[in-house]
């Protein structure tokens, strides 16, 4: 994976940029010592690292605005960073950039149950948004597996999803408004506690723009009343195709579970060793969860179990207690960590039409043999979002490259069967160069035109999302002397 070479003009002006930033920020909010900037050298895509030129930790929207205005003046690229949990390298710095970390801005600004929204600063973590409204039995719906650590800022940048989005949608469906600082320092407010845009849906394109259009400092989020209860059922099958058919039959029956999760043998074993959730030993495991009152849950699960029985499951088990449910989910949510105990791994995130599941799993199995690298699959089966985890050994020369080539093949396959490269992790640097497989040059040009409007100089997170050769001309526009 290549990154653009740092701009020597920018590096030469480091002291000048530093001095200007120190004028607008408190001393402890500007990090310039190489020993300390190293802390920002990577995100959760740890295979790639590069310390930034500087890092800043503003505490207010005004400070964010000041930082961006200065960097805009100086022609310095800015890489925004939430909690640094991106699996796609969304917060990977370049040596000539300023990392803008939003972590200090984590206040709750307004909580309004009557109107069902919360307004927060975006450095706040996903789970602590729910934490802020839990005592009134409300919650914030998108639940990425990293929800304990990941920031709302990053959730908005990547349009994060989670296991329960079959029913509740992803970030974009739960985001009502933003306060955003543009690269030139101007502050705009888009959306709010009301529904839908009165003009073009700018909020819709800002969400998922990977920190390339502006820095969102405040967000208005939809909060929902918690359902009376929820309960999962586990079902094991000896055949992926049968499991896939079972998912399709459940959906067609008119029941809309909040989550349908799929795991294959390797993941089942890894998660079972980790969480001891009593997962059965089988080829394909489904976790299906429904919500409502006790009676509603009983009714829905009985219908689901009836459907599952038609597919000869090797295991069919309804959770009997809150404790058991928690264990079942702990197993699933620890899948990445559990696989990580086995070896280094690369996590993919392609989405496929649900009907292509058996074919795609079969092809991944064949490719796994060809490349000689094991793959475990976890999968949001209701919405077709796959997470193949390719195991490799980072210390073995050539293994990372082999793994990346394998990963690219899988993602191309996802596109070829009618799906896409990434369902919820984002493009970042990881899938940047595959974008041309999914989109024509005109398609990419249309997307880049949006960035041209929001950030004409291409200074915000410039080396992400688009293939480097495609964005090169825009990124190398010389900075006019101020």
């Amino acid at each position: 994976m290549e990154m653009p070479r740092p701009n020597p003009d920018v590096l030469a002006r480091k002291q000048n940029v530093l001095a200007r930033l120190q004028q607008v920020l408190p001393a402890d909010a500007v990090i310039h010592d190489p020993a300390e900037t190293r802390a920002y050298e990577c995100d959760a895509l740890t295979a790639y690292r590069c310390p930034p030129m500087l890092a800043v930790l503003p505490s207010t929207t005004q400070e964010v605005s000041d930082v961006l205005r200065i960097c805009h003046d100086e022609g310095v690229p800015v890489v925004p960073r939430g909690s640094g949990t991106s699996l796609a390298g969304g917060a990977l710095p370049t040596a000539d950039c300023v990392i803008l970390g939003i972590a200090r801005m984590n206040d709750v600004l307004e909580t309004d149950y009557d109107n069902r929204f919360i307004r927060v600063q975006t450095g706040r973590t996903n789970l602590s948004v729910t934490g802020a409204v839990e005592e009134e039995d409300f919650f914030y719906a998108p639940d990425p597996s990293s929800q304990l650590a990941c920031a709302i800022a990053g959730n908005i940048a990547m349009n994060s999803g989670g296991a329960h989005c079959l029913k509740y949608g992803v970030t974009t469906n739960n985001l009502l408004g933003v306060k955003m600082v543009m690269m030139d320092g101007c502050v705009v407010e888009i959306g709010g506690a009301h529904l839908d845009s009165g003009g073009l849906d700018l909020l819709g394109v800002i969400c998922g723009s990977e920190g390339q259009l502006g820095v969102v400092t405040e967000a208005t989020l939809r909060i929902l009343r918690k359902p009376e209860g929820a309960r999962p059922v586990l079902m094991g099958f000896d055949d992926n195709e049968v499991a896939g058919q079972c998912v399709s039959d459940i959906i067609k029956s008119g029941i809309l579970p909040v989550a349908i999760e799929f795991m294959d043998t390797l993941c089942i074993k890894a998660c079972e060793n980790f969480a001891h959730a009593g997962y059965p030993d089988c080829t394909a495991l489904l976790i299906v969860e429904v919500e409502g009152s006790e009676a509603e849950i009983d009714y829905q699960l009985s219908k689901i179990i009836e459907i599952a029985k038609r597919h000869n499951p090797v295991e069919l088990r309804e959770s009997q207690s809150a404790e058991e449910s928690a264990k079942i989910w702990l197993g699933r949510k620890s899948a990445f960590g559990a696989m990580g105990q086995m070896n280094d791994y690369m996590c993919l995130d392609g989405t496929i039409p649900v009907s292509s599941l058996p074919e795609v799993l079969r092809r991944i199995g064949e490719m796994s043999e060809e490349y000689g690298l094991p793959v475990g699959n976890v999968f949001h089966a209701g919405d077709g979002n796959m997470h193949p985890l390719i195991l490799f050994d980072a210390n073995k020369p050539g293994d990372l490259e082999k793994c990346e080539a394998f990963g690219a093949e899988i993602l191309k396959l996802c596109v070829d069967v009618g799906g896409c490269l990434t369902g919820e992790h984002g493009v970042g640097i990881e899938k940047r160069d595959l974008m041309s497989h999914q989109y024509t040059p005109q398609d990419l040009e249309a997307q880049m035109a949006v960035k041209d409007v929001f950030d004409p100089r291409w200074l915000l997170n410039p080396a992400k999302v688009f293939p480097l050769d495609v964005s090169e001309q825009r990124r190398s526009v010389p900075i006019a002397a101020e």
Partner: protein
């Protein structure tokens, strides 16, 4: 001009040298250029997978055709698009492209989301005649920028839709409608908030001041609906007398289509607000008739012809759009709420990039 294929559409647009008014079924009352570009020739469902909750259709496909295809599998467009014909006094066949271009969503918007939330992918022709695709036909897709959302509600000003793909949902087995007697907008919004704060999945919350009642809708499996009706009645006992209404489906269709304003003289405005502000905003409207939907977050107002509601409202969080008025009034006041300067510059910049020659519904959105 009425192309039959996407390629024809692209060729026609590439050769255009004057502005066009883009029309699907022509039911939503857009005025503008005399020159009409109809997408009604691009018609047909191209893919429907009930087990994947996905439908792909050409933009000119009649909504009625899509609803029939879905109904055969017990599914529906959950965002419940409004039929504008009664309100606007138009005829014709509403198209799915028109629904998407106008981001038309009905009463279920508060629970299930808007049209834009169900739009998975688009194909469109930009102002230079290039065919562009964005999104796809899968439910989770963050590959590149989400131009899908941008196209929803862009009223044709960024491009002419040729194909849309949509997430669909199961149709509910059973529906119940409750009426709660209340005496004011403020009481209505309090009642609606209490209902929407409950865990009972209220899928519609409206207020008809003429009838003096708040309307609530519950949907799902029959037993579940019965259970939730009971619980909700208990929860709302202190808010006003509660009764069940027999034909819920018809009633909610009339809310969706704002039927009470059909065949009544006057201009119609649509105002999106924070529900808690609805009472105060409604008072400032000086409306002859009102209908509140979306738990109070959507106000439909019937006002004397030619009156400028926005002046009366002043600054508020939300937006007011002019839905029905004569051409002169629309010309003078503009259909859409003017945006703040910074936001307007972004919108203007996008329109300029997507449609550099200004040929698609120019002036409609600003």
């Amino acid at each position: 001009m009425k192309p039959e294929t996407e390629a024809d559409l692209a060729n026609i647009v590439a050769d255009l040298n004057q502005p066009v008014r883009i029309v699907g079924g022509g039911t939503r009352g857009i005025i503008g250029s005399e020159q009409v570009l109809s997408i009604a020739g691009l018609s047909g469902v191209s893919l429907y997978e009930p087990g994947a909750l996905t439908l792909v259709a050409k933009a000119g496909t009649p909504v009625s055709e899509i609803e029939a295809v879905l109904a055969a599998e017990g599914q529906q467009l959950a965002f419940e698009p409004m039929d504008h014909r009664g309100l606007m006094g138009t005829d014709g066949d509403p198209t799915i492209g028109g629904v998407v271009a106008a981001n038309v969503s009905g009463p279920r918007r508060i629970q299930a989301g808007a049209c834009r939330d169900y739009l998975l992918g688009v194909r469109y022709v930009d102002g230079l005649g290039q065919v562009i695709k964005n999104g796809g036909r899968v439910m989770k897709n963050v590959t590149g920028y989400d131009l899908v959302k941008l196209m929803a509600g862009s009223w044709g000003t960024l491009g002419v839709l040729s194909e849309v793909s949509l997430k669909v949902l199961p149709k509910s087995e059973s529906i119940a409608a409750l009426a709660v007697q209340v005496g004011s907008v403020a009481q209505a919004v309090q009642t609606l908030s209490a209902a929407l704060k409950s865990p009972f999945e209220v899928s519609g919350g409206a207020y008809d001041p003429a009838a003096g009642h708040v309307l609530l809708r519950l949907e799902g499996f029959a037993d579940s609906v019965a259970y939730r009706v009971d619980r909700l009645k208990t929860e709302l006992a202190g808010f006003g007398e509660i009764s069940e209404i027999e034909d819920g489906e018809t009633l909610w269709r009339s809310v969706r289509d704002v039927s009470m304003f059909s065949d009544v003289e006057g201009d119609v405005w649509r105002i999106s607000v924070k529900p808690g502000a609805a009472s105060e905003i409604a008072a400032r409207l000086e409306a002859e008739k009102l209908l509140l939907d979306w738990g109070g977050g959507l106000i439909w107002a019937l006002v004397p012809e030619g009156s400028d509601v926005r002046t009366r409202l002043g600054a508020f969080e939300g937006h007011a759009s002019l839905v029905r008025a004569d051409a002169e009034t629309v010309q003078a006041l503009g259909r859409f709420q003017p945006e703040a300067a910074g936001v307007a510059a972004l919108s203007q910049g996008l329109r300029q990039r997507f449609d550099p020659n200004g040929i698609f519904n120019p002036g409609l959105m600003g």
